[in-house]
């Protein structure tokens, strides 16, 4: 009974946060409410037995997206106020659409089709890892994950096409020392998450996101001057995830017998997955950090 109460309160909170963020007059309120909404979403995932997602949502959804929004917000400061748009037409239309969605969502059969998850459980032993989500991500649907890494890289390439100067404050001694204190812990935590990914909720994305937040904190306090696209090492690491994935895929093709793309042999599966995941974590961490932190002002983004 207590859980139901928790659910009701959580859902109500989620909806009010989202509604307030959308309808608030000032943009600052919208962004802060949105970040709170992100944190609550992480809580919702935890409640719905999706620990992987809770980790990812907390690190990526609330953390990095929030940081990104605040950098964008800084530029809105001088912007002229927008006229207050009229509300009733969108309200009426959206109400109708959401009523329709609500009705169709309740048509969803309560009885789940468990054929796919049984197939996953059945093949888990052969997949080289014991945690089903990591198995699906890095073995059964590895092609999706590769493309998704590509999407992330692409966001970085796109963002580099439109470099805009980030107003960097000189670090204040307290925040500098705090960042120095936090970063080893974050590093340790992300390494742990990466390692545990094989057997328990964790893996490349959550570890990458944590590492990225560590890098971002350090960079915002002027620690990591080398963190830029021009630096060859950084560039290699950013591309390492994809290169590892593609190389592993091609290697799987060369192996005798099973000439199929992205199929890890059973014996080596665990090793390959761990290798690919480590490179992916580094790639994700650096990409997200570069996305949030952006380019140092002086060099024009030509390469």
């Amino acid at each position: 009974m207590g859980l139901l109460l928790f659910d009701v309160v959580l859902c109500a909170l989620l909806l009010t946060l989202a509604g307030a963020a959308m309808l608030s007059r000032q943009l600052v309120h919208a962004v802060t409410l949105f970040i709170a909404f992100g944190v609550m979403m992480a809580l919702a995932w935890a409640r719905l037995q999706a620990p992987d997602l809770a980790l990812a949502e907390a690190a990526i959804g609330a953390g990095l997206t929030g940081a990104l929004c605040f950098t964008a917000l800084a530029r809105y400061a001088g912007d002229a106020g927008y006229p207050k748009p009229k509300l009733w037409l969108p309200l009426v239309f959206v109400a109708a659409v959401s009523a329709l969605l609500l009705y169709s969502v309740f048509q969803i059969p309560a009885q789940p089709t468990t054929e796919l998850s049984e197939r996953v459980a059945e093949h888990l032993a052969v997949s080289g890892v014991s945690h089903p989500v990591t198995a699906v991500l890095l073995n059964f649907r590895a092609w999706d994950t590769l493309l998704e890494l590509l999407v992330l890289l692409l966001a970085l390439l796109g963002a580099r096409q439109v470099p805009s100067q980030l107003p960097l404050h000189a670090g204040w001694s307290l925040s500098v020392s705090w960042s120095r204190l936090l970063s080893p812990m974050l590093l340790l935590l992300s390494a742990y998450l990466l390692w545990r990914g094989a057997a328990a909720p964790g893996g490349a994305f959550q570890a990458g996101a944590l590492l990225a937040s560590g890098l971002v904190i350090l960079r915002l306090n002027q620690q990591l001057a080398w963190l830029s696209w021009q630096n060859f090492a950084v560039r290699t690491l950013v591309l390492a995830g994809l290169i590892a994935f593609v190389m592993a895929g091609l290697a799987s093709l060369l192996l005798p017998g099973q000439l199929v793309w992205l199929s890890w042999p059973v014996a080596l599966a665990g090793g390959i997955i761990l290798l690919v995941e480590t490179f992916a974590t580094l790639a994700i961490a650096l990409t997200l950090a570069l996305l949030v932190v952006g380019e140092p002002e002086q060099e024009p983004a030509d390469a």
Binding site: L116, L157, V162
Partner: protein, 472 residues
């Protein structure tokens, strides 16, 4: 398995290496682009000989793994994507000295090719979502190449594209809720005609039509394609817009239950009618040459959607052939148009259509390329457009659709109007706009190549139709 994998991973690997060593980007790019062509041709021949092939990535069996399928149509689309990729990069290479594109063009155009190839091959609903998203973001990144004037259109394009992908994802989620399967061939025929599937399919169609710039949802396309650099808008109009159309075709011909087909046919037909008419009228009225060509994309997509609508309604082989011939001939013709207009606009320094005056004297080759490609857009024999329109006419006569014949006549006249609006202006000898410098001949020849290819497409119609497995 080898050709399919290489067709996807070669451009991807090339892009990654280019990002690592930007100085050697062009050499690597042309090596890969040229290498891909024989690969795509051999893959096409292999499929025509040994019939349809399919693979399950990771060797995990149909339910669990992502399915890649390669039939006649897919290999044809793969080949066209590779040829246009090679052609456009040759064009960019040839104008490199005069108005160079930023160095990021090379890796991005490779990623565009990789995501397109992945989209053509994949038959998994969620994988198609990721490919669509990837395609949209590469396209937006390419649009921003032309500097700050393309920012607002690029951002609008990105937001529309994201919203469309989310609608599509919601549709996929609802279908997965009902059947727990993500594989299209496995879902074929299983969907019942209940409310949930109706909403799911509507959402997916809405998302895909928004991404394919079908008429009522096409607002982002003219601004984005007009502000992008000419070679980029050639790639966008010729290929990127066709990806979602391919998925729409997959959904409605294999997945959708029979009860929904008439309603969907009605929706698509009215969208097509709007696209043909309003796209044509807008193309006639716009003062800018590149947005004229962009609006013509919207109008020409109307033809393909009309053919798709009639596939759903009557399922005649003529309509299937008509749809894919429209897509292929439009890809080639639109690439030629954009390259020719880009060349004209750059040499004559003209954004307005009026300044193309006397272009047939100052830039005869580029104007000839535009005229020939325009001929295919109108559907003059012996071009590819004619072949597609011929198939569509046979289908319409066979199904006694007299109203749609009239609509097709009006649409063809509209397209003739906006093509010849430019061509007639080119013959004006009153005061031809002198080019700023002696025009380069190579880019004009490259613009002429696809135009001539599409001009004689009707001659080799028989191999094309056997490939599409439709006999008229």
């Amino acid at each position: 398995m080898w050709p399919a994998v290489l067709l996807v991973t070669l451009p991807l690997a090339a892009a990654l290496l280019m990002l690592l060593w930007p100085r050697r980007a062009r050499v690597l790019h042309f090596a890969v682009a040229v290498g891909l062509l024989p690969l795509a041709v051999s893959f096409l021949l292999q499929v025509t000989v040994s019939g349809e092939q399919q693979w399950f990535l990771g060797n995990w069996g149909p339910l669990l793994a992502i399915r890649w399928q390669a039939d006649g149509l897919t290999t044809l689309l793969l080949l066209v994507s590779v040829t246009l990729h090679l052609l456009v990069s040759a064009y960019v290479g040839s104008i490199q000295r005069r108005n160079p594109l930023p160095a990021a063009f090379w890796p991005l155009s490779n990623l565009l090719l990789a995501s397109l190839q992945a989209l053509w091959l994949s038959r998994d609903l969620f994988n198609l979502y990721v490919c669509l998203e990837l395609l949209g973001m590469v396209a937006v990144a390419l649009v921003t190449l032309s500097g700050d004037k393309a920012l607002r259109p690029a951002l609008d394009y990105l937001l529309y594209s994201l919203f469309a992908s989310l609608c599509y994802l919601l549709g996929v989620a609802l279908i997965y809720a009902g059947y727990g399967v993500l594989d299209i061939p496995m879902l074929a025929g299983q969907l019942e005609a209940n409310w949930l599937n109706a909403v799911a399919l509507t959402l997916m169609t809405l998302g895909l039509m928004l991404k394919a710039a079908c008429w009522p949802l096409h607002l982002w396309l003219p601004a984005a394609h007009a502000s992008a650099p000419a070679p980029v808008s050639a790639l966008l109009s010729a290929l990127v817009v066709k990806g979602p159309l391919f998925i729409l075709y997959l959904l409605w011909t294999t997945l959708a239950p029979a009860a929904f087909l008439p309603a969907a046919a009605y929706l698509l037909a009215s969208a097509a009618l709007g696209a043909m008419l309003f796209g044509g009228i807008a193309a006639i009225r716009t003062p800018y040459s590149k947005s004229l060509v962009a609006y013509s994309t919207v109008a020409q997509l109307g033809y393909a959607t009309l053919a798709l609508a009639f596939i759903l309604r009557f399922n005649l082989p003529e309509f299937v052939a008509a749809m894919w011939l429209f897509v292929l001939s439009h890809a080639l013709a639109k690439a030629a148009c954009f390259l020719a207009i880009g060349e004209l606009q750059h040499t004559l320094g003209a954004r307005q259509v009026e300044q193309l005056k006397g272009a047939s004297q100052t830039m005869p080759l580029a104007m000839f390329a535009f005229a020939v490609a325009g001929g295919s857009l109108i559907g003059l024999p012996p071009s590819g457009g004619f072949l597609a329109k011929w198939a569509l006419l046979l289908g319409l006569w066979q199904s006694q659709q007299f109203f749609w014949l009239l609509a097709l006549v009006v649409a063809t006249l509209l397209s003739a109007a906006y093509v010849f609006r430019v061509v007639v202006l080119a013959f004006d000898r009153a005061a031809p706009t002198a080019p700023d410098f002696s025009p380069q001949r190579l880019p004009q020849y490259l613009a002429l190549l696809p135009a001539l290819l599409v001009w004689v497409m009707a001659v080799f119609s028989l191999p094309l139709l056997t490939l599409l497995k439709q006999e008229l």
